[in-house]
């Protein structure tokens, strides 16, 4: 097949690339996150111990903001793809729901990370 790509194909291609690029960022983030939670649960967790270590830690704030941004790109695209493959739902309404889910992840994620690390 030849000829110019349609807008829909171009858009799908962009989403596919965004999914892979965010996956590469997430791969690095998840290794650090898994190591951190496995380390953090040693000897139990207390609020004072957690907040004492996290408050004012700008490096971790930056790390988790990047993590949230990558998740907010990756998860909605993945969900959109699963819905498209398993149901007949397509088009702008599905894209809108995926975008709302992305916004929800950003808002809730930034709220949590800000409270912990800022």
């Amino acid at each position: 097949m030849s000829g110019p790509l349609t807008d829909a194909v171009r858009s799908d291609l962009r989403l596919w690339l965004a999914q892979r690029a965010s996956a590469a960022v997430l791969a690095a983030c998840v290794v650090v996150h898994l190591a951190l939670i496995i380390y953090a649960v040693r000897g139990g967790l207390s609020a004072a111990a957690i907040l004492g270590r996290t408050h004012g830690s700008l490096v971790w704030l930056g790390f988790y903001l990047v993590f949230i941004a990558a998740v907010a790109v990756h998860a909605p695209i993945g969900l959109r793809q699963i819905v498209r493959e398993m149901t007949g739902w397509r088009g702008r309404s599905l894209d809108a729901v995926a975008a709302v889910f992305a916004a929800l992840l950003v808002v809730l994620g930034v709220r949590a990370v800000w409270g912990l690390f800022a």
Binding site: V30, I38, V41, R42, G43, S46, A75, L105, G109, G115
Partner: protein, 115 residues
């Protein structure tokens, strides 16, 4: 396409695990962020939340989530390697390594919980 043969393949199992773990993580994430964001209003609220997470069923769910995250991570790295590096000859080894990594992460988490 021989679907039964195709489905019996390790790669199909890896595809199902990747899809189901991704779905479960996507459902869990907003709840995780919301709970964390609400719990960190102060040390007392956070302590109350942490006490709630001490329940055996919650601990079991936490171990499950660690395994799901590790499985989705390992399966995803395998997919990236297949798509961008063309490591097709390594498929079965990669599937086994992904499964092993997920299990190891879950066990390590379990050991550190000190149950």
């Amino acid at each position: 396409m021989n679907l039964s043969g195709h489905r019996a393949h390790a790669s199909y199992g890896a595809f199902v695990v990747h899809r189901l773990s991704g779905l479960a993580l996507a459902v869990f994430l907003p709840a995780h962020f919301w709970a964390l964001g609400t719990a960190i209003e102060g040390a007392a609220t956070l302590d109350g939340f942490l006490k709630w997470t001490d329940q055996p069923l919650v601990k079991l769910a936490e171990i499950g989530l660690v395994v799901l995250l590790a499985a989705h991570f390992a399966g995803g790295v395998r997919l990236l390697a297949l798509e961008f590096l063309g490591w097709r000859a390594w498929q079965k080894t990669a599937v086994a390594a992904s499964a092993g990594f997920s299990l190891a992460a879950g066990l390590l988490f379990l050991l550190n919980l000190g149950l």
